[in-house]
């Protein structure tokens, strides 16, 4: 059994509001998931290379050429609020 999950902190970091029933359920679920992964570390795999990426494909890098995508108005068209060409959001820390 791994360390007890601080579900309140996890919810806070994910900016989620949970009811106490949800907290209980998710705490149990998350513990199971973590235990499952912990089991992996008990396997002896000395010669195996670590899988860094599941697809194993090589990275394509893009040439450094700039293009125009959105116009200024297009970029802001979905913004709930805009002032002076800027996106407006509630105070960053409230």
């Amino acid at each position: 059994m791994t360390e007890k999950i601080n579900i309140k902190n996890v919810a806070k970091l994910a900016a989620l509001k949970l009811t106490s029933e949800e907290e209980q359920k998710l705490e149990k679920d998350l513990s199971m998931i973590i235990d499952h992964f912990a089991a992996l570390s008990e396997m002896e795999l000395p010669d195996e290379k670590i899988t860094i990426h599941p697809l194993g494909m090589s990275l394509n890098l893009a040439e450094d050429e700039a293009f125009k995508f959105f116009t200024h108005d297009e970029a802001l068209s979905n913004a709930p609020e805009a002032i002076d060409g800027q996106f407006v959001v509630p105070p960053a820390l409230d």
Partner: protein
């Protein structure tokens, strides 16, 4: 018992690319906010990031030139946080497999060599610019305005080991790193434009303590001067607390430029937990041997190489260091001039003192095209061989900045050539002495500084042509007799 500080630096370097790190939006400055955006950099669903090849080349170049080990099998991670300056709710960064690890950078402090140990060099993307509307302070704003033009611009973070011991060392390190990214041609390196941004982690502890003290992070230092002052302030604040047995808390503090103090940033967020995980949108970043070898081939002359060349030419470590951090034309001019004059120190003084000083007064960034190593060396040689006085040398230099002249011809035409013929000067010396018997008596009675007055009289008599040191020597000789 002595209390010693320990400092670690985190520096963000904005790379000089044409497009952003993970999309091909322009990075050029625009008049309007939110001009350079696309689905990727504003985090629209379904968009996919593709890393910028040039940026990867640039960071590899920086990692190699700071003697880092290159991670051949690296990757990108997501750094998750809820803050509106990146619309994806995460920043693409690197976690346990950064491009470069365990490097070092040679620095110069007070004319002596030192080393700053580099822990890691990693690739990430810049955030957007947020303006907090209301009081101007983040913690009492009424709304936040966002411009995402900067969001996604390639950023390299260079993290040192916490082994820096003073504010001077920290400043020398930033100066060296700045020169390095300029010489590598991977960043504009302008502090005032935010191309280079740095935070300092500072702690203090008793000299023989087993553990480092609690570290405090200082943000918002925009210049080398504020970096130095902020570190000094923080060291003295923590030292006082340690002496008084007060508890230093781990926190982020904000440098207040006007009040010259650091103050706690009353962030209402909980302690950061970024929940890093590998970005499934980006495959592994394989920097194979061929890639690294190709980058090594293009390695330009580094600041430390330039500095060593200047030292070999005869300059002190301090002069060589300051020359290496000047504009390119200054170093090049110095190399040519010192080659001709065979006098490194005098060449250095004329170029960095006189020439740069006069250009600065005229608000000129560079000398005129006709000012070349040959005619500048000619002025220096005329002064060195006592053919003209130092003052006349400065006068000719000023004329040369103004128009194309031949220094020697100009010196002759303007009657600036000094009289070094001792017989001629002796005659004038005698004439002056004859007219100033009272002064001679006063000098004999100990008023040595009056000799300067007599030298002035001889110079006046010769219409400024006499070499003052020769005149002084002859005057003293005559008076003694």
């Amino acid at each position: 018992m002595n209390i010693v500080p320990t400092i670690g630096m985190e520096t963000h370097v904005e790379l000089k690319t044409n497009s952003k790190m993970f999309c091909r939006c322009n990075v050029a400055e625009t008049e309007k906010p939110n001009e350079n955006l696309c689905p990727t950099c504003i985090g629209l669903p379904g968009s996919l990031p593709v890393p910028n090849k040039k940026a990867i080349e640039y960071i590899t170049l920086l990692a190699l030139s700071t003697n880092c080990a290159i991670t051949n099998d690296g990757m990108f991670h997501r750094k998750n946080y809820f803050y509106p300056d990146l619309p994806k709710n995460y920043q693409i960064s690197q976690f346990d497999l950064p491009v470069g690890t365990d490097g070092s950078l040679e620095i110069v402090v007070d004319g002596e060599f030192g080393t700053v140990e580099i822990e890691r060099v990693h690739m990430e993307e810049d955030t957007g610019k947020s303006t907090h509307i209301g009081s101007g302070r983040i913690d009492s704003a009424t709304s936040t305005h966002l411009d995402f033009n900067r969001a996604g611009i390639p950023l390299v973070e260079v993290v040192t080991k916490p082994l820096i011991k003073s504010s001077k060392e920290a400043v020398a390190y930033i100066e060296e790193l700045r020169q390095l990214v300029i010489d590598l041609n991977i960043s504009e390196g302008k502090l005032e434009k935010g191309n280079l941004r740095f935070d300092a982690n500072i702690s203090v502890a008793y000299e023989n303590a087993d553990e480092l003290g609690t570290k405090v992070e200082i943000k918002n230092m925009n210049s080398l001067k504020s970096l130095e002052k902020a570190i000094e302030y923080e060291i003295s604040r923590q030292t006082k607390m340690l002496k008084n047995e007060e508890i230093i808390i781990q926190e982020t503090r904000h440098w207040d430029e006007k009040k010259e103090v650091t103050s706690s940033m009353r962030s209402k967020e909980g302690s950061a937990d970024y929940r890093y995980f590998s970005d499934p949108d980006i495959p592994n970043m394989i920097l194979d041997e061929d890639f690294v070898t190709d980058i090594k081939k293009d390695m330009p002359l580094l600041p430390s190489d330039k500095r060593n060349t200047f030292i070999e030419s005869g300059l002190s470590i301090e002069d060589a260091n300051s020359l290496g951090k000047s504009a390119t034309w200054i170093g090049e001019l110095y190399n040519s001039v010192s080659n001709i004059t065979k006098d490194s120190k005098v060449s250095f003084n004329w170029i960095t003192g006189e020439l740069q000083g006069q250009l600065r007064k005229l608000e000129k960034a560079t000398p005129p095209t006709w000012l070349n190593p040959e005619n500048l060396s000619e002025i220096i040689s005329l002064v060195k061989s006592d053919k003209i006085s130092f003052t006349s040398g400065k006068e000719i230099l000023s004329k040369l900045i103004d128009e194309k002249i031949n220094p020697e011809e100009y010196a002759v035409a303007s009657k600036l050539i000094q009289e070094n013929d001792t017989e001629e000067i002796s005659k004038m010396v005698k004439e002056v002495l004859d007219e100033n018997e009272e002064v001679i008596e006063r000098i004999s009675n100990g008023e040595q500084k009056l000799i300067g007055f007599l030298v002035g009289q001889v110079i006046k008599l010769s219409n400024g042509k006499v070499n003052p040191s020769v005149a002084k020597e002859l005057l003293l000789k005559e008076i003694e007799q």
